[in-house]
C-alpha cells in the first residue's frame, strides 16, 4: 500500500496522519481521526453531508484528496461551538426545529456558517443559494432557512 504523511490542522489542533495516497479527506477525518460528525452521503458531491471548511472555504470532503489537505486548516462540525456554548447556527437549528433525522445537519451547519462568514445578513435567496449544495430529505428546507435567518439575527 502506498501511504504518505499528511500534516494538517483540524479544529485548531495539529494532526499528523499516515494515509493511503488515493484516500479522501472524508476518510482521513472519519476513519483515521475518528471525527464521525462529518457524514458520507452520496460520496459524489451531490448531497453535501460531508461538507467541511478547508481554509475557510466550504468543500465536499469526499471530493478532496487527503494529500491535498496537507498544510491546510480544516473545520469540522466537532470544531463548531462547544456543548456549553453552541454556535449561533447550532442554537438556531435547535430553537427552530430545523433537525429531523440529523444526518444532513453537520453539513448544513457548516454550509450556513460559511455563508454567514461571507454574508452576515443574507436575504432568503442568498440563504437558499448558500445551502444549495446540501440535501435534506426530511425537513423540506423551510425550517433550515428560518434557522439561518435567526442565526444571522442573533449574531448581530
Amino acid at each position: 500500500m502506498a501511504t504518505k504523511t499528511v500534516r494538517l490542522t483540524v479544529n485548531g489542533s495539529p494532526a499528523v496522519v499516515q494515509i493511503e495516497e488515493h484516500q479522501t479527506l472524508l476518510y482521513l477525518l472519519r476513519e483515521v481521526l475518528g471525527l464521525i460528525g462529518t457524514k458520507e452521503g452520496c460520496g459524489e458531491g451531490d448531497c453535501g453531508a460531508c461538507s467541511v471548511l478547508l481554509d475557510g472555504e466550504l468543500v465536499n470532503s469526499c471530493l478532496v484528496l487527503a494529500l491535498q489537505a496537507d498544510g491546510k486548516e480544516i473545520l469540522t462540525i466537532e470544531g463548531v461551538g462547544t456543548e456549553d456554548h453552541l454556535h449561533p447556527v447550532q442554537q438556531a437549528f435547535i430553537e427552530v426545529g430545523a433537525i429531523q433525522c440529523g444526518y444532513c445537519t453537520p453539513g448544513m451547519v457548516l454550509a450556513a456558517k460559511a455563508l454567514l462568514d461571507k454574508i452576515p445578513d443574507p436575504c432568503e435567496e442568498e440563504i437558499r443559494r448558500g445551502l444549495s449544495g446540501n440535501l435534506c430529505r426530511c425537513t423540506g428546507y423551510q425550517k433550515i432557512v428560518d434557522a439561518v435567518k435567526m442565526a444571522a439575527q442573533t449574531s448581530k
Partner: protein, 301 residues
C-alpha cells in the same frame, strides 16, 4: 486499490511525470476525477496533483488580453471584477455550475477538459473567442513546449478534446473588447446541482448610435456532442438591427442548425424549444441592457 498520488511543486515536474507515465492522471479540484474514480470510469495507477501551482490560479489583464489560469475556481470566476467586466457571461456560467462546494473546488481547466456537452463555462468562452495555452514537457533545451488552440477546435466529442495525455491546460485567454456585451442563460431541472438541459452564451457588439449588431457570437451547450457556435445565426445577426423580427428569425434559424438528442433529462423537442426561447431571451436582454454585467443575477429570478 493502490493508487499513487504525486504532488509536484512545479508545472515542469508535473509535465515530466505525465510524459513518462501514461496511466497517471492530473487532478486539481477533484470534483470530476474523484467521482469518475468512484464509479470505475477511470482506472489510473496514479494521480498528479496540480493544486499547488499558485501561478495558475490567477486572473490578470495583460494589455488587451485577459488571462485566466486553468486552476482558477468557479467561485473565483463568479466574483472576479475583471471577469464581470470583460467576460460577464463567464461569471454567470461559472455561478451556474454545481453547488457552492463544487464551485469552491472545481477549476476552469477541469470544466473544459472534461468536455461535457453541458459544461457551463464552455459557451461563454466560445462566445468570447477564447483560446487555450497547452503545455507539455520540456525538450532538450529545457523550455516547456507550448501550443495554442482555439476553443472552437478544442472539443472533439463527448469527453474528448484535443488535449494530449502529456499536456496540461495552462491558461485560457480572451482578447478583450469593452464594447462587447455578453450573457449566459441556462435551463436545468433545478436551480442547483443541475446539468444543463440547454445552455447558451451570446456576445454582441452593438453600434452605439444605430444599435446595429456589428459582431455576434452565439454558443450553445447540450444540443450537440460538444458545446458549439452556431455560425449561421451569427452571420444572420451581423449587420442587422436587433428588432423583434430579427430576434424571431434568428431563433428560427437555430432550429435548422442544431441536433439535440432525447435523454432522461429532456426530449429532443423540448431542447429545441428551449434553444429557441433562450436565444430570444438572451437577445432581448442584450438589446435592452445598457451595461454588460448588469443582469448578472437574472438567472436566479
Amino acid at each position: 486499490m493502490s493508487i499513487r498520488t504525486l504532488s509536484p511543486e512545479t508545472p515542469a515536474q508535473a509535465l515530466e511525470i505525465l510524459s513518462l507515465q501514461e496511466k497517471y492522471l492530473p487532478v486539481a479540484g477533484g470534483t470530476n476525477v474523484l467521482v469518475d474514480l468512484r464509479k470505475g470510469k477511470i482506472t489510473p495507477i496514479g494521480f498528479v496533483d496540480l493544486s499547488r501551482f499558485e501561478a495558475w490560479k490567477t486572473i490578470q489583464l495583460k494589455g488587451q488580453v485577459l488571462e485566466i489560469g486553468s486552476l482558477v475556481t468557479h467561485s473565483q470566476l463568479e466574483a472576479h471584477p475583471l471577469i464581470k467586466t470583460y467576460c460577464p457571461a463567464l461569471s454567470m456560467g461559472a455561478s451556474a455550475v454545481g453547488s457552492p462546494q463544487i464551485r469552491n473546488r472545481g477549476t476552469l481547466g477541469g470544466n473544459l477538459q472534461s468536455a461535457s456537452p453541458a459544461a457551463d463555462c464552455a459557451p461563454p468562452l466560445l462566445a468570447h473567442d477564447a483560446f487555450l495555452t497547452l503545455l507539455s514537457a520540456a525538450d532538450s533545451s529545457g523550455t516547456l513546449k507550448e501550443r495554442q488552440v482555439d476553443l472552437t477546435d478544442f472539443f472533439l466529442g463527448v469527453g474528448k478534446t484535443d488535449l494530449r495525455p502529456n499536456e496540461l491546460i495552462q491558461k485560457v485567454s480572451i482578447n478583450i473588447n469593452p464594447k462587447r456585451k455578453s450573457i449566459f442563460l441556462k435551463s436545468g431541472l433545478r436551480k442547483a446541482l443541475a446539468i444543463s438541459l440547454v445552455n447558451l452564451a451570446v456576445s454582441i457588439e452593438l453600434d452605439e448610435n444605430t444599435a446595429e449588431c456589428l459582431k455576434a457570437r452565439v454558443a450553445f451547450g447540450s444540443i450537440a456532442p460538444t458545446p458549439v457556435r452556431i455560425r449561421k445565426v451569427e452571420e444572420f445577426l451581423e449587420g442587422r438591427m436587433l428588432d423583434e423580427r430579427v430576434i424571431e428569425e434568428a431563433s428560427n434559424i437555430v432550429q435548422n442548425e442544431i441536433a439535440p438528442i432525447s435523454d432522461l433529462r429532456a426530449s429532443e423537442e423540448y431542447r429545441r424549444y428551449l434553444a429557441q426561447v433562450l436565444l430570444q431571451e438572451a437577445l432581448r436582454t442584450i438589446k435592452s441592457s445598457k451595461e454588460a454585467g448588469k443582469w448578472l443575477r437574472k438567472q436566479f429570478d
